[in-house]
Amino acid sequence: MTLRRRLAYAGAGLTAVGLLVAGLLVPLSMAPAESAGTYRVTATRDAIAEDGTSTTLDQRTVSMDVSQTTNLRGRQQVTVSWSGAHPTGGTVADVNSAAGAGEEYPFVLLQCRGTASGDNAVRPETCWTQTWAERFQRSSSAWPVWRADAYADTDARGSAVGAPDPRPELCFGAARSERWLPFDAVDGTTYAGGSAGCAGMAPESANVDGSGLPSNTTYGITGSDGKGSEQFTVFTADENASLGCSSEVPCSLVAVPVMGVSCDGFGTKLPEESRPTAAAGARADTLCRAPDVYQPGQIATTGTDSNLAVSGSLWWAPSNWRNRITVPLTFAVSSSVCSVLNSDAPLTAYGSVLFSDISAQWTPKFCTDDRLRPFVHVQAADTAARNLITAGTASMVLSSRAPDGGFGKPVVQAPVAFTGFAVAYNVDDSTGRPAKTLNLDARLLAKLLTQSYPANSLVGDNYPALARNPMNITKDPEFIALNPGLPQYDAVEAASTIMTLSTETDMTAALTSYIDADPEARKWLDGVPDPWGMVVNPNYLRIDLPVSSWPQLDEFVLPQSIIDAKVNPCYSYSPSPYLGLIANPTGFVQNVVQNIQYSMSNVNIACPNGDSSDVTTLRLRTQGRQQPGNRFVLGVVPLTAAYRYSLRTASLQTTSDVSASDKVADAAGRTFVAADDAGLKAAGALLKPDEESGTWDLDYAQLHETAGAAAYPGALPVYADVPTTGLDKATAKRAAQLLEYAATSGQQAGTGNGQLPPGALPLTEANGLSALAAYTHRAAAAVLDQKGEVPKLVPDDPDPTPSPTGEPTDDPTTTSPVGPGTTTPLTPPATGGSPSAGKPGKGATPKPAETDVIRTVGAESSFGGIGLPVVLLAGLVVGVAGLSLRFTGRAVQLGRTAGPALARRVRSGGRRVRR
């Protein structure tokens, strides 16, 4: 062995050890950032007697879990659960409403700008509340409860604290005692608030209890066992610019377990001159120690004021605030960073809505990592997007099916993700709390889609074909059998439909394929009534499935007598098919997601303030937010969106050994599969390569056999369709790079930028999907070549992964082609220790993990570099060449003929010109 060879091996060995160490370090350093922790605090409530002795009234150890605190994105929901808190009384249905502040001993969750400690620590002034009532108190008594707060400063116990000076004219005269809690916006503006917001509120503030999106301030309800759990929605600067949280501006989730104001009614902690009189002190002490109005768990009654000393209204009181738990939140760099950082036009990928959450995590990575070229995902109808490929106007399309007639040219369909659709729901159980599970089978989905529930008595009484059907799904014995214990509604139209997309999407095609393959559902669609006698809407009888967008076929218009009676003036003004208004499919998947998240009914039959004499008021509107406690909405959404927004998803039926004619009373004999990784993994095993179409298809027939019993029926791969001929070199390189990324680094599960979001199953060996990733790898090579070649799904070569050949080299950057699951060329090798440690600059705020360190991308211009020198050089060359061409020959000749000839020539030339 030569010395050179030996050195090469030593180098390779060292590199391998280095990579191994780095590989071990990465998960170690990532672990604390990824896991969301448990937080604990000991909360106390004290009381100080007239003689200054302090006694502890109540002491509790509260611990709290937060499901996710890093890489948060706008409007994302995190689950907060806690134990050990004081049970809540006077509970309200909508814990996000201002009415929640009236609860006794609520567990208040707030989003505040700032960190847990230090100069930039959270203050009540930086915490977001949507209404003025949550940050203003006034009283006609001299010593209200908040002035008896033992932990408040002397200044904060004055009679009018925080009032703006001068007092705005809109605000009424000052009450005897007032406490203002202004809101400090991120731009430095202070909004004083005040009664009805008279001194100014942040623009995002509004009383939105009826419509629009609710606040994220949550007055969580603690059960009698001291435990509770709520969903908390985080706002970024995009949703709430005044609060202004972003990857740059640190924010925290602050939990204030309200224990009650610690009483110092006699003012023993105040200086002599500020103390109340003995009589006033005794009154203040009694007021502060007043008994609770409600029992734990009791529902608030209108007109009964709760005990202010222990209510959520005083979440900001120092006695409560000091018991807070502050959980720092870090936000992912959003894709808006791309427009700031990059000047080169991104590669545009049209299509699939299923990919939108994945591209939300991938695009910031692609535009901040200078090894990757940016791309942008433009959501479009799948069918139309695939046509763009055929027409040659798009260089990449994301979709989940092969086009029916083929592309008409060589196109690779490279799998980039394995995700699917979910039936998301926001349904309350009979106790008024969100239902934890929901089981649906294909026949119930068919009933919802075919508009076979009458929805309300207007239809039920006048549409004979549906007259015998249950009013809505909650009244359907089949649904009751599968989901016992849910409340039944008489007139909730939203419970008779399911929100879908009106545009063409492969998600709908997959949903209808599932229904089509289900024997029960297909039979029912073909006209056989279900065991309880429910029949299909005749307009959808024997409908041909699958379809890419659900057709609106029902044409039932309410009878003329009802229209003339103007019960619903908006509808009477413009009568249209009524069940279509109830289904009201939307054009944007984000609308469906948002409607489910906030339980907004999309049924388009509301006519608020409809006045027959004024046509401008006669526009039908959607019903809007449902009252918490009586929520029922269903919708079809991408699985990744369901995970990102913490939407609950229904389990879908696969197999059933129940006879189709049995009037079942429970879910026995049926298998329901939840929309989770296990269900996706089992579905992945059912994928079959179809060389003819060039895709892996889910075999829906197998779902109803034992082999597919555990498979989630909503599973669906997403393919990147890229032509392998006709692309210019630069575009081909970019497309190939994206495919290569999708085949390797992109399949790392996580919530960070560049990772694969939850709800998509990584295409790895462990998940049995390595063949898909390997194909994408081969497809990337074919795209790069642009020779019109489309690799076969299953290579003829028995060993699909090319094994590394050749000898190890001493160049550590050269990596041989790799299969998924190993080190990839695109993952930056973690050299130089912990990735989060390399941040220079003093006084740096804590930065999120490695994926979020922003590096200067910079811009370059080759023209700027060589343009001017080249122009200068070219100009010189051309000028000299021109001069020599023009004059050298003549100069020689002139030299020969010399003086007189020249003179004559010049003279004659001059004459010629003048003539």
Partner: protein
């Protein structure tokens, strides 16, 4: 009525002078060669003009624009009418900047960073706050042409002062670092802090002065209190670093300017035949130069905005 008698033809005069039968001198080379030579000379002259314009004349143009903008901004500052937040018209003066160590003295900053706007002076990037306000404010300036107002900015050192005057007051920044591609972006700003980022281009290697090919970012931290941020305009994709403007308007203006130039040249050529050459030159050169200047000004918008 009698017609006048026709004039008699003159008697034919016979010339008996000796005839010059000598061959006329012919060009030494063929017509095509002469034409090629002429074309190349003209090309060479155009190049010389282009370079002269970019390095020298465009500087005068910016100086002229600055003179006008300074007068406008001075009035607006005195009246308190200068903008403090969006919307600001593209090209309107917004601030006065001085970077003594980079040879920038009281230059007027204009709104926007499109190539056309940067012909008038340093530009304030839309999408960032105005200087002096809390947040990051970005100013871009050319490194080479139009006087190269920011050509010495990459040579700034940590601690060098930057002074900006807006309608909200005079703000002093201190340079905190120079970064190029791949360098970490400075940490996030705390509440109420301000940062000014000067963006220009610089070259590499031997021809660095001639070829500003990469963007350079100079960060400066506000000393003292920032004003609250005003409204911010939407980011303008036509104003990103090295953006060039080959839009319809620019091309249309360029075509019109070229038409004027061609017309001017034709008129001068015609005049040279009709008048004396001297008169044609005296009258024609200023017209042609003005047209050429118009063409150059429009054509330079096709170049990257930081060059």
């Amino acid at each position: 009525m009698t017609a006048p008698a026709p004039e008699r033809p003159r008697p034919t005069a016979v010339r008996d002078l000796p005839t010059d039968t000598a061959q006329l001198p012919r060009p030494a080379r063929g017509f095509s060669e002469v034409a090629l030579g002429q074309t190349m000379i003209v090309l060479g002259l155009v190049t010389v003009w282009a370079l002269a314009y970019l390095f020298l004349l465009s500087g005068f143009q910016q100086g002229h624009a600055q003179h006008r903008l300074y007068a406008q901004l001075r009035t607006e500052l005195a009246l308190g009418e200068a903008p403090a937040g969006a919307p600001i018209a593209l090209g309107a003066p917004v601030a006065l900047v001085s970077v003594p160590d980079a040879g920038v003295h009281d230059l007027v900053v204009v709104e926007g960073t499109t190539p056309a706007v940067l012909q008038q002076g340093p530009g304030h990037q839309q999408g960032s706050v105005l200087p002096g306000q809390a947040g990051v404010s970005v100013l871009m300036g050319r490194a080479l042409s139009f006087g190269g107002p920011f050509k010495d900015v990459p040579q700034l050192r940590v601690g060098d002062p930057v002074e900006v005057t807006t309608v909200q007051g005079t703000f002093r920044y201190e340079v905190s670092g120079v970064r190029r591609k791949g360098d970490p972006v400075p940490p996030a700003l705390a509440d109420g802090q301000g940062r000014l980022t000067l963006v220009t281009a610089a070259g590499e290697g031997r021809l660095a002065g001639l070829g500003p090919s990469r963007s350079v970012y100079v960060d400066a931290t506000l000393t003292g209190d920032a004003q609250p941020a005003g409204a911010v305009a939407a980011i303008d994709p036509n104003g990103s670093p090295f953006a060039h403007d080959a839009g319809f308007t620019t091309l249309a203006v360029l075509v019109l300017a070229l038409e004027v130039l061609v017309a001017a040249v034709l008129v001068v050529a015609w005049a040279r035949h009709r008048w004396t050459p001297l008169a044609a030159w005296v009258a024609g050169v200023p017209v042609v130069l003005a047209a050429l200047w118009l063409v150059s000004s429009a054509a330079s918008r096709l170049l990257p905005n930081l060059v």
